[in-house]
Amino acid sequence: MIRSFRLTSLLSAAKPLRSFACSSSPARVAPPCASFAEEKSSPPPNSLSITPPKTPLFLTKPSHAAPLSEVWKWHDWAKDLASSVDNSSTKAEDSLDSILLLRELKWLIEDSIEADHPVITGTEVTYDGEKSVKLRASLEELYDLWRQRIEKRRPFQYVVGCEHWRDLVLCVEEGVLIPRPETELIVDMVEKVVTRDEWFKRGTWADLGTGSGAIAIGVARVLGGCGRVVATDLSPVAIAVAGNNVKRYGLEGVIEVREGSWFEPLKELEGKLVGLVSNPPYIPSDDIPGLQAEVGRHEPKLALDGGVDGTDSLLHLCDGASRMLTSGGFFAFETNGEKQSKMIVDYMTVDLKNSFSDVKIVSDFAGICRFVTGFRL
């Protein structure tokens, strides 16, 4: 059977007809309880108590196969589901956006189908519907994953098990904060500092509350192999995930992942760090219940809740920075926004007088006062 490539746009012009045609597809879906992720990563029998990090979809072996026509059916169903999400929610940040969902669907296809995904997205000239394609998850799992995304509001990054961040692809899973685009700028700032002064390249950096290891890996890569980075986290899941990401980028020799709270695992480095970076939990506790569903329902509170006014961890970091950084050392912290940034700058320049120089607020690309940076005197 040869189908015309124009299907995509034809279908989008005739939406009602399509949803009618596809209404039968969901019936063939596996029961929602089938947990794909757990099946995938069943640990080897001799493994210890700590569960190893999950394998993201794009690294899974393409051990499933399905006829293209069936994959198409899934794709149409998923597209329909994405197009029909309710955009009426009054809180803009807490509603699903069809356009974004369609883009995510494209990426889900990229991650789950081996090689020639244009076949699915409908840009290929002609193709054979009977042809079999290799999948990294079974069709049933794909139906289930997309349902989780839309009905359970499971973050897309947990669905595919990875987040593209800077030029990295980081494995993420429940229990680890998904690194945010804003946080990429911390690495940009570090890059600027180390290009200006080679001294920073040779010293030891610390990334506290590393989560997936994103900042630590980003920093290690701009150090260019000379210095080293110590990444800490309180959560064992984060430690496992970060360790795995470090390994994936071959940075075991540069980054050391240590389990523990903030500066605790760094005792021997007191006064020796040339750089200190962190994206600590900074959301005020009262804001936690009202968070966007993807965040509030799925991401770890430990990585989000910053206490009454959100600055508990940040203030702790400020105190630690004065103790841990060597003279001339650089720090960059992410904050909740203007109010918090100003508070931190205040604290560092007044309460911790004569400890820091050049303390300033840096905005993210959305224009929000996002970071506080400076140097140890």
Binding site: S9, R180, E334, T335, N336, F365, A366
Partner: protein
């Protein structure tokens, strides 16, 4: 391609040496004395012919007695102009072949005159497309420039000059070699006939047939000989006024280019896409990667008009919609590119308000980069990280600024360097009619096709090639 010709001419030369010990002399001027084709030939008995511009048409060259000694010579007119006219031993030149108006028969007909006439005609077309006279003038200017003693004081300028000189010399040599090869084959064929060497005759005949085939390819190549034609490019489509109907049309146009590019084995990546409210796109940018992507796609610049019964009109009325297309070359590393200062840039991220940071989990990391001095912007949202979106938007911005600079600096074919905002909606290049009749017609060339579906499915080469050839082939005085 030129190496292919050289190889072929070498093997033929060996053949010639084996079967007939005949001396062929080639006289090349300093500029064209490429050792590849001259080596192996002794020039001690060389004779040069002076070509005169008068009266060659009246001469019955084919009836001239065939002389025992064969020569293919390249003669230099007394004026010592850089134009070298190759001819056979009996003074047959490409121009004379054309003047003879030998009938061009089917390729399978074993008639050397037919082949020769077809090849000569192709050579003429190629020269016209390369703007031969201008090319020679430019080449002379560049040679003068290259010989200036302090040229390399400005390495950027010098690099540009020597690159252009190299590229033009290559093109010129290619044509000259091809021309010479044709005449050599003709000599060979006549010789074979005279010697009744049927093996050599059929060998030469098939060589001529092969040349005829190659000449058609060369005609096409010559269409894409402008400076940046070999580059990859961005194609941008913007919907005209009219909401959903024209947004849908814009996305149809974009799909047309995506499939066209894929058929041509170019790789396609969506860089920027602003969807329409109901359907289609308001505007979109794709990156088309591959050799000569720009050379082909530049033919599509302008406004594309659609006439159809709108599927979005419940009254089933006929609608006319417009979509504007712009094409931007992505200059290679060798080219001089505009320097962008970081301090001239403002980088913005689209958000629907909100606190951002840890509060928000979104896969949307689109960025817009604004070049403050020019007001030029670039957007990318299809990458999976903000960093990559930024890099991709920077690349678009760079190309837009390069394009602006090119338009400013040179008097390049203005219509190809227009940016999307400059394309006037009056500048219609093509109409696609789906109702009441079915036709796609190019308003520049009058090229038309009665099957709009095939065109919308990316079958655009007919339109592109007819436009490229018409824009280069007009004005016979060029040659």
């Amino acid at each position: 391609m030129s190496s292919l010709i050289i190889n072929r001419s070498r093997s033929r030369a060996v053949l010639l040496w084996k079967t007939h010990v005949i001396k062929i002399a080639s006289i090349f001027s300093h500029a064209f004395a490429d050792s590849d084709s001259a080596s192996g030939f002794s020039s001690d008995s060389a004779r040069s012919f002076k070509t005169t511009s008068s009266g060659f048409g009246s001469r019955k060259i084919s009836n001239l007695a065939f002389s025992r000694s064969n020569f293919v010579s390249t003669t230099r007119p007394l004026s010592s102009e850089a134009v070298h006219v190759a001819s056979t031993c009996d003074r047959l030149t490409v121009e004379r072949i054309i003047a003879n108006q030998w009938p061009i028969l089917d390729e399978n007909e074993s008639d050397w005159k037919s082949h020769a006439a077809a090849i000569a005609q192709s050579i003429q077309v190629i020269k016209r497309r390369l703007q031969w006279k201008k090319l020679l003038v430019r080449l002379r200017m560049l040679s003068v420039e290259l010989n200036k003693p302090h040229l390399w004081d400005d390495p950027t300028h010098a690099g540009k000059i020597s690159r252009e000189h190299g590229s033009l010399t290559g093109k010129m040599k290619g044509v000259m070699t091809f021309e010479r090869e044709l005449l050599e084959h003709i000599d060979m064929l006549k010789l074979a006939k005279e010697e009744k060497d049927s093996e050599l005759e059929s060998e030469t005949m098939s060589a001529l047939m092969e040349m005829r085939r190659v000449s058609k390819e060369k005609e096409l190549e010559a269409l894409l000989s402008a400076e940046n034609d070999h580059c990859s490019c961005y194609i941008e489509v913007q919907a005209g006024a009219g909401g959903t109907e024209s947004n849908d049309w814009a996305s149809m146009v974009m799909d047309m280019y995506k499939t066209w590019a894929q058929r041509r084995k170019f790789s396609v990546a969506v860089v920027d896409e602003m969807p329409g409210e109901m359907a289609g796109i308001k505007r979109a940018t794709i990156k088309v990667n591959g050799e000569y992507a720009y050379g082909y796609a530049k033919a599509e610049v302008g406004v594309h008009r659609l006439v159809r019964i709108s599927p979005f009109d419940s009254g089933k009325r006929r609608h006319t919609s417009f979509a504007a297309v712009a094409v931007i070359p992505i200059l290679g590393d060798g080219s001089t590119r505009v320097q962008i200062n970081d301090s001239d840039l403002r980088i913005e991220r689209f958000r629907s308000g909100g606190a951002g940071g840890q509060h928000a989990n979104t896969t949307d990391s689109a960025v817009r980069i604004i070049h403050i001095p020019t007001g030029i912007t670039a957007t990318c949202q299809n990458e999976r990280s903000q960093h990559m979106n930024k890099a991709s938007a920077m690349a678009v911005l760079q190309s837009r600024l390069d394009q602006l600079e090119m338009a400013r600096q040179t008097a390049m074919n203005a219509q190809h360097t227009q940016s999307l905002t400059e394309i006037s909606w009056g500048n219609q290049i093509r109409t696609y009619v789906l109702h009441p009749y079915r036709m796609v017609k190019d308003l520049r060339t009058n090229y038309e096709v009665s099957d709009p579906d095939s065109v919308l499915e990316g079958d655009l080469d007919g339109f592109i090639l007819s436009f490229l050839s018409s824009s280069l082939d007009k004005g016979d005085d060029e040659n």
